[in-house]
C-alpha cells in the first residue's frame, strides 16, 4: 500500500473516532455501544500501520486482491453489528411496552384515588 493512501486512511479513521468521542461526551452515545465502533477502528488502524500486514494476510487467506479481503471483512463486521442492533432494538421494544403498561395502570390508580379524595373533601366542607 502506498504511504499516501495509508496516511489518508488513518487520518479519516482518526476523524471518525473523534466524532464518536464527541458524541459520547454529549451523552448521545453510551460508552457501552460506542465500544464496538472504537475497537473495530483501532484494529483497522493497527492493521494499516503494520507494513505489509494486509498483503500478507490476504495472500495467506487466498485473496487475489487486498481490497477484496478488506471489503469482505468490512461487510461481515457490518452485518454482525447491525444484527446486534436488531437484538438490542427488540429488547428495548419489550421494555418500552412493559413501561407503557405499568405507567398507564398506575395513572388509572392515581386518578381513582384523586377522585375519591375530591368527593371526601366535598363532604367535609
Amino acid at each position: 500500500m502506498e504511504i499516501r493512501l495509508k496516511i489518508i486512511l488513518i487520518l479519516s479513521i482518526l476523524f471518525f473516532m473523534l466524532v464518536i468521542v464527541h458524541f459520547i461526551k454529549k451523552d448521545d452515545i453510551s460508552i457501552k455501544y460506542s465500544l464496538i465502533w472504537l475497537i473495530s477502528f483501532l484494529i483497522l488502524i493497527i492493521s494499516i500501520m503494520i507494513p505489509n500486514f494486509l498483503e500478507l494476510l490476504s495472500h495467506i487467506l487466498g485473496f487475489e486482491l487486498v481490497s477484496n479481503m478488506v471489503f469482505l471483512i468490512a461487510i461481515f463486521i457490518l452485518i454482525i453489528v447491525s444484527f446486534i442492533f436488531t437484538i438490542i432494538v427488540s429488547r428495548q421494544a419489550q421494555k418500552i411496552r412493559l413501561l407503557i403498561q405499568e405507567v398507564s395502570m398506575l395513572k388509572r390508580k392515581i386518578e381513582l384515588l384523586d377522585a375519591k379524595e375530591n368527593t371526601k373533601g366535598k363532604k367535609q366542607k
Binding site: I100, V103, K107, R108
Partner: protein, 243 residues
C-alpha cells in the same frame, strides 16, 4: 361464591362504536342481573375515544402510547390479575361480539372443563350470520391447519378475539403475550403448555364502523399470513408440546 368476571375491551380509534358496545353490556347486566365488570383499554386513540370514556364514566385505562392489539389486551390481563378476577374475557370494542354469548363462553370454565374458551364463528355453520369473505376463510383454514400440525389440536376460528380465560391463563397472559397477531400464537403456547382449550359456537356481527386491524391495506393480509405462520412455528419450537 360469586365469580368475578371482567370484560377486557381493547379500543383504538373506536369513537363510533365504543359507547354502544359498553351500553349494550350495561343493559345486559341490568336485564339479566349479571355482574360483568368491564375495562376499556384505550390504546392511544387519536380520536375522541378517551373523551367519550371519561364523559360516560366507563372504567378504562388510557395507554400513554399506542401499543397495538397485543400490548393492549395484555394490559387488560394484568389488570385482571391485579384485581383478582376469576374470569377475564376478551371482547372487541367495535360491536362485532354479542354480550349474550358470554354466558355460554364462560360455562365450560365455570364447570372446570376448560382453562380457555374461544368463541368460534365456524363451529356451527348455521349459527353465525357473519362468516367473513372467501379469501379470509382460506387464510383461516390455512392457519387452522398449521396449528393442527404444531399442537395436534383442532381450532376452527383461529383469529377470534372473543375468548374467556380462567385464573391460570390470566396469569400466563399477564406474564407473556405476543404483540403481533396475538390470537393464533397465544393459542399454540397455551395448548402446548397442556391447558384445556374449548371452542364455543357463537355468532358475530359485521363490524359497524372503524376498520379491521388485518385488512385495511392490500399488502397487510400478505404480511399478516407470513407473520402468523412464522409466529406459530416459532412458538411451537419455543414451547414444546406436553405429551
Amino acid at each position: 361464591m360469586k365469580q368475578k368476571i371482567l370484560l377486557i375491551i381493547p379500543a383504538y380509534n373506536e369513537e363510533e362504536n365504543i359507547l354502544k358496545t359498553c351500553q349494550n353490556i350495561m343493559d345486559y347486566n341490568k336485564r339479566n342481573k349479571t355482574n360483568y365488570n368491564m375495562i376499556v383499554i384505550n390504546d392511544g386513540s387519536k380520536d375522541h375515544t378517551k373523551q367519550i370514556l371519561e364523559d360516560n364514566q366507563i372504567p378504562h385505562i388510557n395507554l400513554i402510547h399506542n401499543l397495538g392489539i397485543g400490548g393492549a389486551v395484555q394490559t387488560g390481563y394484568k389488570y385482571a390479575l391485579e384485581n383478582n378476577y376469576d374470569i377475564a374475557i376478551q371482547y372487541d370494542g367495535d360491536g362485532q361480539h354479542d354480550v349474550s354469548y358470554v354466558k355460554e363462553l364462560i360455562q365450560p370454565i365455570l364447570d372446570g372443563q376448560a382453562d380457555l374458551t374461544i368463541g368460534s364463528r365456524f363451529l356451527e355453520k348455521e349459527k353465525s350470520s357473519f362468516q367473513s369473505t372467501f379469501t379470509r376463510r382460506i387464510g383461516i383454514h390455512f392457519i387452522s391447519f398449521l396449528i393442527k400440525i404444531c399442537t395436534g389440536k383442532k381450532i376452527t376460528d383461529t383469529t377470534s378475539g372473543f375468548r374467556a380465560a380462567n385464573t391460570n391463563i390470566i396469569e400466563e397472559f399477564a406474564k407473556e403475550y405476543p404483540s403481533d397477531s396475538p390470537e393464533p400464537s397465544s393459542f399454540v403456547e397455551i395448548a402446548n403448555k397442556g391447558f384445556n382449550i374449548k371452542e364455543v359456537a357463537v355468532s358475530m356481527n359485521e363490524r359497524e364502523g372503524g376498520t379491521s386491524s388485518i385488512t385495511n391495506h392490500f399488502w397487510k393480509p400478505i404480511y399478516y399470513m407470513i407473520n402468523v405462520s412464522l409466529s406459530i412455528i416459532i412458538t411451537s419450537l419455543k414451547v414444546r408440546r406436553k405429551s
